[in-house]
């Protein structure tokens, strides 16, 4: 008998045997328990609480009870002009920004994959914007767009072009935000597309080349179908992220000028924290959640990702 075996006395074994057997039987649950508890505390409970808040009118005065108003907060959405403006702006931003990011990201990935595959440092450089904290990106672009001292207007001045207000001009403000977002997030699409391109099989292309298929036909009939799952994931993630745009708008324009850049996240923040109306803010958040779920489900079905 080994010396260590002596220490394992029969008595504790007997005492703990029931517990041990129970633990062994339920080990998988025990292992999952911490994660489940954290999820419950940080995701499930707040989500349920948000549903609960959305059907109440909540006063900032803690001595006043929450008043149940059913769908009252949701009905308010129909007549709230600011919400409708924010919804329209969010839709414009999401569609335009994600489309440009996708086209640029795919184009860059094709270019690098085909012609400059060896320039790995270029790939790293292209990744930098994505790595930066959004708040730093927003402040950097604020400096670039600054009408009097910004580098962009300095270039315009030197080229003899008219100076622009960029983030301050009603016609340019949304465009300015889209440019900053495209700068930051095109690398994300690029990265996914590059990974997708690297995993493409070679044989179909060889066969297509033998059959005399042009580069365009190869791209359209082979590359795009092969990349479909990657494209779907990239677009899905970017759309979901674009729907909750906040930092750029908060720093660059504050939703202005003339409400042209007010997006849903900014409006939710204002309603919840500036106007101290968390019930209504919860209702708007649920609306955004609903839109996101519907869009992603439709998109996944359309791209046959769910299969």
């Amino acid at each position: 008998m080994l010396k260590s075996d002596k220490g394992t006395s029969a008595a504790p074994l007997r005492l703990g045997s029931g517990l041990e057997r129970w633990a062994e039987r339920h080990l998988r649950y025990l292992m999952l328990a911490p994660t489940v508890l954290i999820l419950l505390a940080l995701t499930i409970f707040p989500s349920i609480y948000m549903f609960y808040a959305a059907v109440h009118r909540i006063s900032p005065n803690p001595d006043l009870p929450w008043e149940f108003i059913g769908i009252g907060n949701f009905a308010r959405l129909l007549s709230d002009g600011q919400f409708q403006v924010a919804l329209r702006n969010t839709a414009i931003f999401t569609i335009v920004a994600v489309t440009i990011e996708f086209l640029l990201g795919l184009g860059l990935a094709m270019l690098l994959d085909k012609y400059i595959r060896r320039l790995t440092f270029l790939k790293t450089v292209l990744m930098i914007p994505m790595m930066l904290p959004p708040i730093a990106v927003a402040i950097t672009w604020k400096l670039i767009y600054e009408p009097q001292f910004g580098v962009l207007n300095e270039i315009m001045f030197r080229l003899g072009l008219p100076l622009q207000a960029w983030a301050g001009d009603v016609n340019l403000a949304m465009f300015s935000i889209i440019v900053a977002d495209v700068w930051q997030w095109t690398p994300f699409i690029f990265l996914l597309m590059l990974a997708g391109l690297a995993s493409l099989p070679v044989e179909p292309y060889e066969a297509a080349a033998l059959d005399g298929a042009s580069s365009w036909r190869q791209f359209w009939d082979l590359t795009i179908p092969f990349l479909k799952p990657v494209i779907a994931i990239a677009l899905l993630l970017r759309v979901m992220d674009a729907l909750r745009l906040f930092d750029l708008v908060f720093i660059l324009t504050g939703g202005g000028p003339a409400d042209r850049t007010k997006v849903l996240s900014l409006y939710i923040y204002q309603v919840a924290y500036r106007f101290a109306d968390p019930g209504y803010a919860a209702a708007i958040s649920l609306f955004v959640l609903f839109v996101t779920i519907v869009l992603s489900t439709w998109f996944m079905k359309r791209m046959r990702l769910a299969e």
Partner: protein
């Protein structure tokens, strides 16, 4: 066994000692920037002198309101004192987040704050305004002033601008001379708080106001409001392209860099204008109270005030600290740290006024005495947002000034439930 027990006890005791050292007797929520920095420094002094540990938690401007409102709504008691921008007072007071200071003054054998505080500074600390009980004490004496480049103005024949017409005359000439690189006027046109803050003094100087005297009627869309809007639009036309997104920083930078000749701004910018490392205009910028329209000019008051949170568990300690921090000696130290005072004795203190960096004090004291508070309403943040959207649209030219007034009238009526 005994040794193990002693060791465990010793570790536990030292851990407890470390934690208790980290616990503060009073916690204050303060904004980032000079106001918060000043109070943090005062808190450190107080700990040394009185032995009471004061923790000053700093947050960006907007987050101070949010954190304070959240602490109040949840009765968390995490903050004992909040350093508030004065337009927030009705929100905090009327939602039960602030302690009525009357019993604390009584316990201290005082009637209330002493008469050395400027009357306008004290008026904003009562809720309802100037008549109700004290719910806070003034700490930083902000009120807008009119900043201008006297030499440039003189070139246009305007010696010292007394009215908005004078300002417009000089600003128009300077902008025309500037060729797109220099402007006669610059203002905060950013949607929301910025544009409202720069419009209100003009609004008041034409005899307009947001509500009637007893706050039973919204009075934005009036002939007085239209006259104010007309001047505001004329000022926009002589301002740089892009003011639609400007906040205090952009305005201050334009003045300090010498690319704009005049603006309304807060007194804490004086330090920047007079600092050679940050300004090309050292000694060149003059200060005056807000110019007159059809009525005498009135600046927007923007004091930082200290109130005790209702959920605080250390209310007496908090009150003692507030009385100490707002005493004449401490307000003078605070002024030396860069925060405008709230006491007449400090404004007229020769030791300070003879220094170049405090040369604006007589003007600032006059500006505070002629100031107006932002409309006192618990829903002010929402009102300001709605008004700010319409002003922003007018500044951007997407609607006419008349439409802006009409829309703002309707929006504020809807928010307040008034007609």
């Amino acid at each position: 066994m005994v040794r193990k027990l002693c060791l465990t006890l010793a570790i536990a005791a030292s851990a407890l000692a470390i934690s208790s050292a980290a616990w503060a007797d009073i916690t204050i929520l303060v904004p980032s920037g000079s106001e918060g920095d000043g109070l943090r420094a005062a808190a450190a002094d107080y700990a040394k002198i009185k032995g009471t540990k004061v923790e000053a938690v700093q947050a960006p401007y907007a987050n101070v309101f949010e954190q304070g409102a959240n602490a109040g709504a949840t009765k968390s008691g995490v903050f004992d004192i909040i350093l508030m921008d004065d337009p927030w007072i009705p929100f905090f007071a009327e939602n039960g987040h602030l302690e009525d200071l009357t019993p604390y003054f009584k316990n201290a054998g005082l009637e209330g704050p002493d008469n050395d505080f400027l009357s306008k500074s004290l008026a904003i600390c009562r809720n309802p305004y100037n008549t109700g009980p004290y719910v806070c004490l003034p700490y930083v004496g902000n009120a807008q002033m009119f900043f201008y480049d006297a030499a440039k103005f003189k070139e246009t024949g305007v010696e010292s601008p007394k009215t908005w017409d004078d300002v417009l005359k000089a600003a128009k000439a300077l902008t025309e001379q500037g060729g797109g690189r220099y402007f006669g006027y610059v203002f905060r046109g950013g949607q929301g708080n910025p544009v409202v803050a720069d419009f209100m003094p003009i609004f008041w100087s034409y005899g307009a106001d947001m509500f009637n005297a007893d706050r039973t009627k919204v009075t934005i869309d009036t002939p007085e409001g239209a006259a104010a809007m007309k001047t505001f639009m004329a000022l926009r036309d002589v301002s740089p392209k892009g003011v639609e997104s400007y906040n205090a920083n952009e305005v201050g930078t334009a003045l300090a860099a010498g690319t704009a000749a005049s603006s309304i701004n807060w007194p804490n910018w004086v330090a920047t204008f007079e600092d050679p490392s940050q300004s090309k205009m050292v000694g060149k910028i003059s200060y005056s109270p807000i110019p007159a329209g059809t009525k005498p000019g009135s600046s927007e008051i923007g004091h930082w005030t200290m109130g005790i949170m209702s959920a605080s568990k250390n209310k007496q300690e908090a009150f003692d600290f507030m009385i100490w921090a707002t005493s004449p000696e401490q307000i003078k130290i605070s002024a030396e740290r860069g925060n405008p005072p709230v006491r007449a004795s400090v404004f007229t203190d020769q030791e300070l006024t003879k220094q170049e960096k405090f040369r604006h004090y007589p003007v600032l004291m006059e500006a505070i005495q002629a100031s107006t508070p932002r409309p006192r309403h618990p829903k002010w943040p929402e009102i300001e947002n709605a008004f700010g959207i319409e002003l922003s649209k007018a500044v951007a030219g997407t609607i006419t000034p008349e439409e802006a007034l009409k829309n703002a009238q309707a929006a504020v009526e809807q928010i307040t439930g008034l007609k």
